[in-house]
Structure formats: C-alpha cells, structure tokens
Point group: C2
Chain length 351, copies 2
DNA sequence: TGATATACTGTTATCAGTAACTTAAAGTTT
DNA sequence: AAACTTTAAGTTACTGATAACAGTATATCA
C-alpha cells in the first residue's frame, strides 16, 4: 500500500504538503492541491490512521463493553452507540462479556492496549478492579445501565430500575396478585439489587409480607430464568405471578412454565423488565416495563465524546437516569380481571 | 501513560529486553524477567498496540460490515464472528450500513484507513466499487450472506437461498395455496434474486403460473414488508399466502395484515425466511426457513483469519454454502389443513 | 588452551504520519 | 527601497514498539 511519501514523490512535493492536503489545511496553493489529489487517486492512496493515531495520541475509537449483543436491549443500545459514534467520526469496538468478570478484565485490557479514546461500560462484575482504576486514570469511561462499586465518580446513564420494578409490581398487586416471585441477575449487578428494591417497596406499600423464598438472585440469561422458575414452581406454595428481571429471564421463565404444563396468564402471570421488540410487534403478549435503550446508547456516547474532546470541562459526575415505561398487554391476565391503572404514571396500553 | 522506556529505565534494562519480556520470548534471564514484570506492575504499564501494530504491520483487528445489528439474523452472525475473533486474539469493529451503499463505501474506507487485517462483508450494494477493488488488493475480504458482482473470486459463506425459498414455497403449495405473494429485498442483493428464483422453481414444478404482480422487490426492512404487503393486499385478486423474504419483512407484513383486519393463518398464510429466535421461543408461531447464522459467522471468521495469517496458501476461492432448515409451526395454517411433509428434506416440526 | 557455541542484553534504524519550526519568494506599506 | 507581512512550501524531530544486528560474558569442546 502506498504511503504519504509515495504520493509526495510522485507529486513532486514534500510529505508535509500531502498531509496538509489530506487534512484540508490551508496554506496550499490550489494547483498544488489539485496535483496532489490527482496523484492520491492515481495511486489509490488511503491514509494510515494507525500512524496518524500514533502521533496524535488519539484513535477516534471507543470501546463498548456489554454483556451480550444477542440481547435485544443491548443490541438496541449498541445501535444507539454506533450511530452516535459514527456521526462524530468515531468507530466502535464491541466486546461481549457474557456476564463474566474475567472476560470483562480481558476486554478492558485489550481496549487499554488499543488506546481507545474512551470506553462505555456495562459492567459484569460491579466492582472496581485494579485494571479499571488504571483505565479511568488514562481513559475516560462512561458507565451504562449499571453502577460499579467504587466508581461513583464516573458519568453514568441508566434506567430507573427501582421505579420500574415498583411500577411493574404495583401493577400485579392492583390486578389482585399477592404471591409474586421475582427473578433477577447476579447480586453484585446494581440493576438486580435495584429491581428487587422496587419490588419490595411495592409490596411493603400494599402491606404484603416479603418472603425471601420468592426472591431469586440468579443470572440475567434464559438459563437463569428457566432454572429459577422451576425452583419457584416447585415451592410448596408457588407464586401466582412471576416478575422476570429482564427479557431473557422472562423467556426462560416462559419456557419453564410451558414445560410444567401451565398457561400464561390463565394459570400464572408473567411480566418482564425490558421489552422484546420483535416479539411484541408480532405478538403483543408480555406486559413489560421498557427502557429507552437506544437513547441510553446515544446519551452515553455523547457524554463520552464530550469528555474525550474535553469540550465541557465539567469535573463533577453527570448522572442521567431515564424513566422506564409500563406497557400493559396481556401476560398478567389483564383481560381476565378488570383493568386497573395507576394515576399519573406513564402507562401505555397495547391492544 | 507509561511507555516501554519508562519501564526499561526503572528496571535498569533496555527497552528491547522489556519488549522480550512482554512478548514472552526466551533469551531473558529469569531474574531480569521477574524484575521487569515487577516494574510493569508497579507502573501499571499497558503496551501500546498502536505502536506495535504500526511496526508489525498488523492490527489484529477485523471489520464486520453488515446491514443492521438490530436484525436478529445479523446479531447472531455477529456474535459468531466476535467469539471466533476473540478466540484468535482478534477484535472486531462493527459497521451498520442500513442497506445504504454510500454508508458501505464510507465504512470500507474507514476500515482501510484503520488498516484492519481483514474484512467480513455482507454487501449492501452487491456491486464492485473502486474502493472494494482497492481493498481486496491490500486487505483480505470474506463475503458473507451475499454475493457481490465482480468479486466472484473472494471466499464466501452463505446460506442456500434458492433451496430455502424452494422449500418454503413448496411447503405452501403442499398445503394447498396457489396464489402466493413474495416480498424480498432490493434487486441487486443476491439473496433477493435467489429467493425469488427458488420461489419460481417451486411454482413451475407444480405447474402454477408465475405472476409478476405477486413478486415484490422491496427492502429488507419492516417498512419494506409493511408497504409491499399493503400493495399485495390491495390487488384485485390478492394472494392467499405471503412469503416474507426475511424476518423483518415478515414482521412488517404481520403488522400490515393485522391493520387490514385479517388474521394469520385463518385469513392469510404468512411464512418467513430467517427465524426470530426470541419470538419463536415464547410463541412458536411463524413457519420459517432458518439459516445457521452463528455458524456462518464462525466459518467466515475462520476463513478470514486463515487468509490473514496465510496459513493455507490456497489461492482458489472457498465457497461455503450452508443448508437452511424448514421449521413448520402454525402461520401457514398447518393445523387447519392436513399436514404434508416432503420426503428426505430437512424438516422440523415445532409443537 | 584456544576455538566455538550459547545465553543474554544492548544499539540502531524503521514504520507513516504530523507539530513546530524554518525558509524562500512574493506582496504591501510607508 | 527598506521593512514588514503573507503565502507556500520544506526540514527536523518525535510518537512507542520491534527486527536485525552487534556485542559481551559464560559455557563447552577438541
């Protein structure tokens, strides 16, 4: 592949002049500029951004660390990140940790080696590690979706999990359910704790006793939802409603429920945190609380890029908490009992 | 951030020795090695792969150009790519073209600038452009999912669209449908042509006349499916079954059909090329032909990496065509009429 | 004992750009 | 016409790592 020197020689100018042409700087005579452009096309010269990044000490690249691109919530979020990055001439390196803290460390190290300009992190570990410390000293980090213990000073964009879980639980209670099981992810993931907190808040508010056997800290995955549902269903006094802590858990729960020969919502209610778009479009089934995943991606990327380019020299943390939305469909048996709605809450009713 | 020289100075050795330690080369005295490692940890030194890539002329990065990460087919494929890349110490830069040839050019140029070691391309344009020519001279490219005119010499991994469409159409015919509409993507995308070809083949074989008004070259998107379905339904003699050329088209079709007050499958059959996993797990509804998207990603990445590392110096093109699978569920009214199955074909029946 | 191999470490040049500085010529001002 | 400014270039040094080569010290062998 030709270099800037090949272009320079052929155009009869210095490399610096070619550099100026490429970067659209002034101080180049129009004729010279044209000649250089012609040579660039003739040779099929493509600037080497490796070398460029190397001298300029910026890569115009950000890293996105999520748990699983296969999860619709994260793919939508990722799309928001990518679109926004592209708009700002940044590219994105994707990393799937599969909720594995070791993979997370691996990827963070990789990103640090690649000297990405910034990182958007949905942490799997929820804890500050030596590497993370290192990273945030050298590279701006914006947290997304989840808090990380010990990194309370970083910018963060997340949904209001406490309130969302409260809404969803309250909805079940209003429909008459009393024994409500909840399945969330690993305990050190902030959303898991938050969603349980919202759930408890709703129960307490309605004077329903909290039973620990109905609360499952599992994994944010189909398997997690499947296994925990089986456990819940085999309790002596099984729940009459299940709250899936995320979309994958709800899918796993659905599979388990069907295996047990039960129907949703006739035999048991099933609601979910996070929607599954392609499912809902074809079959508006799950009553859910959705988060604006795309916006989360967009906002996080904007915050990050501003930090990277140091446009706003705000030193204090920026914390963006987006409100979730309750979408009532049919999986809690809303059509079987009379419909109840909270007043003043953001609520949408699908057909 | 500390450099290799900072480490060298503090450890009282040369940069070269540090380099040898980092890269696990022999010819370093154990004590020296330990001392260097200690300093690396003390300083929190992270090697600069920018500089490394620059001298070694390889970036250990590949580019993945797809149309939309939001499409479950591509996210699964992307996951296959990412996992395989990671396994081989490669990272992946994602690019969404949204079926826009201009965006495709933009991204290819970006990847060329970044001097990625290779590119996996699901082309939106279907045509060879000057940039693509340039790219393939300097950077190995593996095509995925779609052929590109003029690039018949590149490795490719794709599904057998002709056969898949044939299977699906044949299935409809066997169920008694005669007026079958088909909606596929843009005409210059190879899968669109192939799927129509398979569709025609099945019709001809059964002696059913081909009617051009039932064949829609639209867009591989929900909007495309929606609009074309509306058109089909407003024909004087509308189809009794619709073949969605991909999953998004099928979703769009479903929405349009519902808007028209029709039911699937009672009033009209609807089948789809490509499954929608999260939908099918909860609600096994669509009768589809699926492609092994994850495997496609894995195989393409393996082919690419082998080219990059030049392990096999095969010069001839490697063409991997994966067979699709017909999954019979209920959206073609299989439960309404008696079930018919092709003999010897790969067929699965979901409950 | 001298020759040769081996283990370990250092030196130098280089990769492809760009910042900062320098130079040369042309234009402007008084 | 001397002094100054502007325009349009070119030169040099540097980014962080590594390959290739060059030493030096120690070990091994005939």
């Amino acid at each position: 592949m030709p270099t800037i020197y090949d272009v320079a020689k052929r155009a009869g100018v210095s490399a610096m002049t070619v550099s100026r042409v490429i970067n659209g700087k002034k101080d180049v005579k129009p004729e010279t500029r044209e000649k250089v452009i012609k040579v660039i096309e003739e040779l099929g010269y493509v600037p080497n951004s490796l070398a460029r990044s190397f001298v300029l000490q910026k890569t115009k690249t950000i890293g996105l660390v999520i748990t699983d691109i296969t999860n619709p919530f994260f793919t939508t979020l990722a799309r928001g990140v990518e679109d926004t990055a592209m708009k700002n001439q940044f590219s994105v390196i994707f990393c799937n940790t599969d909720e594995d803290p070791e993979k997370e460390v691996l990827y963070l190290e990789l990103l640090a080696r690649k000297r990405v300009d910034g990182v958007i992190l949905a942490s799997a570990s929820g804890k500050r590690t030596p590497l993370k410390s290192l990273l945030i000293e050298g590279i701006p980090v914006v947290l997304i979706d989840r808090e990380v213990d010990g990194l309370e000073d970083l910018d963060i964009v997340k949904g209001d999990s406490v309130h969302g879980a409260y809404l969803l639980t309250k909805h079940l209670i209003n429909l008459g359910y009393r024994r409500i099981g909840i399945i969330v992810g690993n305990k050190n993931i902030s959303t898991a704790e938050d969603r349980v907190e919202g759930y408890k808040k709703a129960l307490i508010e309605s004077g329903i006793p909290i039973e620990e056997e109905l609360i499952k800290f599992s994994r944010y995955s189909k398997e997690g939802g499947y296994i925990s549902t089986k456990e819940l269903l085999s309790l002596e006094d099984p729940p009459t409603a299940i709250f899936g802590g995320n979309n994958f858990i709800a899918i796993g729960a659905m599979i388990a429920i069907r295996e047990e020969g039960l129907r949703v919502p006739e035999d048991i209610a099933l609601v979910s945190f996070d929607d599954i778009e392609s499912l809902s479009e074809v079959y508006p089934f799950f009553t859910v609380v959705t988060q604006p995943a795309y916006s989360m991606g967009v906002i996080a990327t904007e915050l990050l890029i501003r930090r990277v380019e140091n446009k706003d020299r705000v030193r204090e943390r920026r914390k963006v908490i987006l409100q979730p939305e309750l979408i009532i469909r049919g999986s809690a048996g809303e059509n079987l009992v009379k419909e109840v709605r909270e007043e003043g809450e953001k609520v949408r009713v699908d057909d």
